[in-house]
């Protein structure tokens, strides 16, 4: 093609301290194309987007817009350069009405109204306060607001994620026509169905680096998955374990039974059982409803439908204390959510059982002490800095969050990405610990964003996509490529010729 790219970013680098978010990213978008930006969790997509839209600044790299070097320092600069993003979270000001929001960004009202109608919302009152508008509609309004100023490059981050099917269909239709009229769209999505139906080319990121640019054609999704995984696809499964003979035959009643669980718009229909002595893995791309699943099981949000059973008894959690009483402990990925950082290791470990609501009166310090010490010994927590948890290393902090539930003798542990950002050695200890818990007959639900962990720890893997369970793997089959495909909603064992591209015509979302 002879046309010059509308947007051309090369050699983009961004580091946060020692963490490299972008190593060498590039993205080149031609006029009139819909360009997909793809990559696994943590590949650097969102960092690249933030740099392109001026939300953060790159450490190095060149960004050319229409062949000119532009220094995009703020979202306002990006707007002036003709680059408009629609972020995953709505960016209307919640306390202002829609009309004021339009005024704030200098968006013309009539084109906005026209786009809103086009996108399938006929009865919007622009005097409504943004806070009172449902999330799905807000996202559409965000898109309409961007379209109304006719940007040269429209950047859509997971645009269809929270949308019901009818709205998503309209959105995709409008995006496609955007390309036809000579404007460009950068489309970030985890859904191959949408990408194959919509996009002309795709740029694939892996570990902060652009590893390939491909034309979207039938069968390309296998190549994209390969690129996203890189060398890892070749890795032999040395670490593969056999599923343990977990549940004893006589005990067929599951520890935790989840049926048709729904939470808001994020979690649509999830059912599974968790047996005693089992570690069940949960694999999902970001934002597929796993956060809501864990929050509902931990009692911190109330499900909007479905049932949760513990040891065969239906339960309703109104408060995390109810879940804890039922023996369900939650270990969040973000340790600051679980720990009282300024307090000592001992207090942190003792908190769940010493602060139990029914135990009024003074705390039995001797009993507390012995339970805490045994938990610390078991986890080999480095207690040199035990007076303040915030002075421990990340790995030791994570051990404290697990130790407290061992000390509290929780029967079921929900671990949400417990190894995020901790060192390799501690990771190994945590894997071992989770296995030990299972061997003692306890049950563990383990969400991880690092697919290679699955075969080290789990007996079974539940894959969630779009708020639904799309597949359940026995551990023997759960190698990384298989999990990656499943996490992207591709059917198991799909060959190139029966890939998702081949049946786009039967897919409701992709229908033009």
């Amino acid at each position: 093609m002879t046309t010059n790219p509308l947007l051309d970013a090369t050699g983009v680098v961004k580091t946060y301290g020692a963490v490299v978010a972008l190593r060498n990213a590039s993205l080149s978008v031609l006029p009139g194309e819909v360009h997909a930006l793809m990559g696994a969790n943590g590949a650097g997509k969102s960092t690249l987007v933030k740099i392109l839209t001026g939300a953060i600044r790159a450490d190095a790299g060149h960004i050319l817009i229409r062949g000119e070097a532009r220094d995009v320092r703020s979202p306002a600069d990006a707007r002036r350069a003709g680059l408009l993003p629609v972020y995953q979270e709505p960016s209307l000001i919640p306390d202002l009405d829609v009309a004021s929001n339009l005024r704030l960004t200098g968006t013309p009202v009539e084109p906005f109204r026209a786009w809103v109608r086009e996108l399938g919302i006929p009865d919007l009152d622009i005097r409504d306060i943004a806070r009172d508008i449902p999330l799905a509609v807000l996202r559409v309004l965000d898109l309409a607001r961007a379209l109304a100023v006719e940007p040269d490059v429209l950047l859509l981050d997971e645009m269809t994620a929270a949308l019901p099917a009818n709205l998503a269909e309209k959105v995709l239709e409008v995006v496609r026509r955007q390309g036809d009229s000579g404007r460009s769209v950068i489309f970030i999505s985890h859904r191959f169905v949408e990408i194959s139906a919509l996009c002309d080319r795709a740029t694939v990121l892996r570990d902060g680096e652009t590893v390939g640019v491909v034309d979207i054609e039938p069968g390309v999704e296998e190549r994209i998955v390969e690129m996203m995984l890189g060398a890892r696809i070749e890795k032999t499964r040395v670490t593969s374990r056999q599923a343990s003979q977990a549940a004893s035959p006589g005990d067929s009643r599951p520890r935790l039974g989840v049926a048709n669980l729904r939470v808001g718009t994020k979690l649509n229909d999830v059912s599974f059982d968790l047996a005693n002595g089992e570690v069940a893995g949960v694999v999902a791309l970001e934002g597929q409803g796993q956060d809501e699943l864990f929050a509902a099981l931990a009692g911190s949000i109330r499900p909007s439908g479905g049932t949760i059973e513990v040891d065969g008894q239906p339960v309703r959690f109104a408060h995390p204390a109810d879940a804890i009483r039922a023996g369900i402990a939650y270990v969040p990925g973000d340790r600051t959510e679980a720990l009282t950082m300024q307090r000592s290791v001992r207090e942190n470990i003792a908190l769940p059982f010493s602060a139990a609501l029914r135990n009024w009166g003074p705390i039995n310090m001797r009993q507390e002490g012995s339970r805490v010490v045994s938990a610390i010994e078991r986890l080999q927590i480095d207690t040199r800095a035990q007076r303040e948890v915030q002075r421990l290393s990340g790995g030791n902090q994570q051990k404290v969050t697990i130790a407290r539930w061992i000390a509290a003798e929780a029967q079921t542990v929900l671990c949400f990405d417990p190894t995020r950002g901790i060192d390799v050695g501690t990771k190994q200890e945590i894997y071992k610990l989770l296995r030990e818990l299972a061997d003692q007959g306890k049950s563990v639900l383990f969400y991880t964003s690092e697919l290679e962990e699955v075969q080290r720890v789990c007996d079974r893997v539940i894959v969630i996509f779009g708020g639904r369970v799309v597949d359940v793997f026995p551990v023997e089959l759960a190698d990384e490529p298989a999990l990656m495909r499943a996490a992207y909603g591709l059917p198991r064992g799909a060959k190139e010729d029966v890939g998702i591209l081949a049946d786009i015509h039967s897919s409701p979302v992709a229908k033009p």
């Binding site: 979202p75 306002a76 960016s91 209307l92 000001i93 919640p94 004021s100």
Partner: protein, 322 residues
Amino acid sequence: MTRLVRRQGWVAGLLVLFVVLLVITRLIQPGYGSGDFGSLVRAVLPYAFAVAAQTIVVIAGGIDLSVGAMMALTSVTAASMMDGASEEYALFVVPFVLAMGLVLGAVNGMLIVVTRVPDIVVTLATLFVLQGAALLVLGAPGGAVAEWLRATIIGTVPIPGLPGISAWIPKALVLLVVCLCIIWIPLKRSKLGLSIYAIGSSELAAFRSGVPVARTKIIAYALSGLFGAMGGLALTMSTGIGAPIPGPYLLASVAAVVLGGVALGGGKGGLLGPIVAVFVLRLVRTDLTLLAIDPNVTAIIEGAIMVAVVMFGAFITMRGRQ
């Protein structure tokens, strides 16, 4: 219609409350007349400016603890400059003091934006600094004020042919309304005003909408300083001297902001509500004094009223949501 009620219902409720309180005052003290109303407004005047100063910062999602100290400093500056000077000199003093408030407010804002120290800490520090500065300017209450300035808040606005109504329109009220409107109405209609609401409502969303967050915040604090300086001037105008130790303006301003329907989290509310609220709070105090209630009990009752009204408001909002 329902939209109007929902948006302005709180202010309307406060106005009704104010009228009810006026009626109660008449019942307690049948002689309560236009003259007493005039002195109420004069007493409220500095409070009202303090409230305006606090309101604009709270809407922008911050808080300004230095409001009272700002008033003290501007008050003593004005009083000592006018002491022994000619009447015309005051024509220079007034804009000078207003500019001083604007600049000091902007410094507050810049410190918050640049150092990223929480606003509550920065303005607490400014509180001490300004208070010390006020004592340096004038060690004890003193100074003087130009006669024509005093005259602008004493007496009523004569309306030819309607002496009955004009007796109820004190000059101080007109001055207050004019000063607030001159700044607030253009602000409310400008993009700057929207930006102030935007950063208070959601800083991230505002940033993504292309709002210059830092600049807007500095301007909000600068305007707060300007209102503070107006309050200082009003204080000097009504007492005739400058007082280096500020009255209970800071806490009163926060109380009126809350009572006036401005969310302390930012982004919500207007200026009218807090202004009416400060009138309500002062009138309650007047009534309790008229009833010869122990001043200490008065404070307890005022606190109880505040909690009750805010709880009532939250209750109504929750009912409205369902």
